[in-house]
Symmetry: C3
Subunit: 269 residues, 3 copies
């Protein structure tokens, strides 16, 4: 993997404008700051043009919706596309709630984001697949998830990061799997949101290669989580979050490379 | 106490729909997730029917009010009563702020919740007592608090969990005291909100016995806090929260039973 | 420095009404509670008069703006000035976003706060200086920052706490520098917001001497952070926050005095 992007973030301190959800906004701000980016949170549409103008990337998380945040997301995204700033979207719970499907469809109609980060069910929705009917949740395996991610990438014309025990990154043509991680990511509420926030930090310094940005974000995050979990005598999901920040602050690109279990998936198109 | 409910949560992974307050929403989501439930946060009334339909319990916390959350609380509660899903209410600061008394009265007019969790002053308001005039805050003792809780339970026709150094749980007919705990609960902002969130997780797997759900939630939480505090060389209220999550993740029903100081209060009605 | 204010907070448990930002509201509540104050968060204008009436100080943070919070800030501030309660303002990001300059100007038109806490860029805006053009950010030195703070204090007729590697406190006539601290404050998102929250707790017990309140708040916070950082084998910005709360809970006025590097700046007016 590229050593460069993590170092570039630390050198360039890119500003990331976020619409986070109210549950994990503190975590997203802290993980971006600790990796070397400068997070700002935007909630007032009147600030939108300035908030996009000073930023190198925009991160949109639909975890907690209501009228004002939805309006804010649309205003910021329209501005970002107009100003050619990279956009990352996290379609939280879009697989379970029909209302969120309506909202995500409206957001995706505004333009094409650089990266969409979601779990298997969320990405399955974006692939146009019926997740429960397909039974993937019941364990039909990893090969299906690669196809789910690739289908979503082609349908949405974007880079997909399908995160889970194995992360799958694909732009529809190339696909990479990251096998690092720890089950503690699932026990801690906010892991996915933090990874989305990191995607925005990485794509801010790699706007022309969102596929590599998503691979590096996923690998850095997964390796850090794995190192923290491996150092614990027993799983400690409450201590996991502060220690994950500690690790992400101190981890180097060389550390990530040493531990990375990253493989390209060969597919016939 | 019943071993069963904690294990049932871990097996059933009930979905809990929450309107949390903006201060401690992260804590509520994490404590529910760590105990084995699946928290979702709801802020848009348009999602309300779906959010209730997929959930096994609804938790309402009035800690941070404004027009949209109040509307959301009412919409979700009306849906929950219509769909016969258990409801837990946390009447934050209702004893101090008249405006919140108006709001809680409106919420309670929508139907009867399964559990109300509050501190002594909040429960005193729901009992129709003048807290400061009664001087309970000045130390008139534990017997009064049992009467306060019982009066509130009878008046509101619900299970009351009055939390404090000793937790009191009553449905108006039966009353139980939980003597476990630690003063660190009072020093950490969010302890009460987390306990309310746990009540929702426990009642989700025990909808027909909210009294037992409240006892088990209070006992599990109080024992975990006590074990964490006892392991500290000196009181560390900042480290208390992550370590409390660590403990709640690893604690078993047998651990809780070993340490529980739970006694039934015998009363003549 | 005065031993008294920290002890007075622990004895009087002043109630602090806050409009915090959505990112760090949990941190502000916890730091105020741990130091001995009682935080409440206010988001509904209908509560404003009561929220001010029961409080000994009001803390306003403009970190996350939208229509309702702005209205709430104005309502609470007007009430606080009417009721002669001390007001602390944190003009988050006012140096970068023109829209926030408009809002802060509107807030400052309502009356004179007792303390304004900001970083160098934010205070430079309040001093009427062009921060980037002045090149202070590029390192033109500490003397300039003292002048920036003094100019802002005179222009705004208030006590300024300009926080950074060295904190500068001035009422325009007297100026004090606090040299304690740690670079971890900059890595942790929420440090500035917590310091603002502490200013409100200290001025609540020292309403007639906001200058001393700001000095004591800054010194207590900076010494605690320094002690936590010095005890770490390597910088751990994720563990910093819980350990900072641990330290602030246990620190005494004597501890603060032992470690304080506080000097008065002699200036000719």
């Amino acid at each position: 993997m590229s050593k460069t992007l993590l170092d570039q973030i630390k050198q360039a301190n890119p500003i990331i404008t976020n619409v986070a959800n109210s549950v994990t906004v503190d975590q997203v701000a802290n993980v971006q700051n600790i990796i070397g980016a400068s997070p700002i949170m935007s909630s007032d549409p009147e600030e939108a043009p300035e908030m996009v103008a000073i930023a190198q990337a925009l991160s949109i998380n639909i975890g907690t919706l209501s009228t004002e945040p939805i309006h804010q997301m649309k205003t910021l995204m329209a501005e970002a596309y107009r100003q050619a700033k990279p956009v990352v979207i996290d379609p939280v719970a879009v697989s379970s709630i029909h209302y969120r499907q309506k909202i995500i469809d409206e957001l995706l109609a505004l333009g094409t984001p650089q990266i969409i980060r979601g779990n298997a069910g969320e990405i399955a929705y974006l692939a146009g697949l019926d997740w429960q009917a397909n039974g993937i949740d019941a364990g039909s395996g990893e090969i299906d998830l690669v196809k789910v991610a690739q289908t979503a990438a082609k349908k949405q014309q974007t880079t997909i990061l399908l995160s889970g025990p194995t992360d799958i990154i694909t732009d529809g043509h190339h696909t990479t799997k990251v096998a690092n991680g720890t089950p503690l990511f699932q026990v801690h509420v906010g892991s996915g949101d933090m990874l989305t926030g990191l995607c925005a930090a990485f794509v801010a310094v790699s706007p022309d290669n969102p596929y590599q940005a998503a691979i590096d974000a996923a690998t850095t995050f997964a390796v850090a989580g794995q190192l923290v979990a491996e150092a614990m005598p027993t799983p400690l999901p409450g201590s996991f979050y502060p220690q994950l920040l500690d690790c992400l602050f101190n981890i180097t690109a060389a550390d990530v490379q040493t531990h990375a279990q990253v493989t390209e998936v060969l597919t016939h198109e």
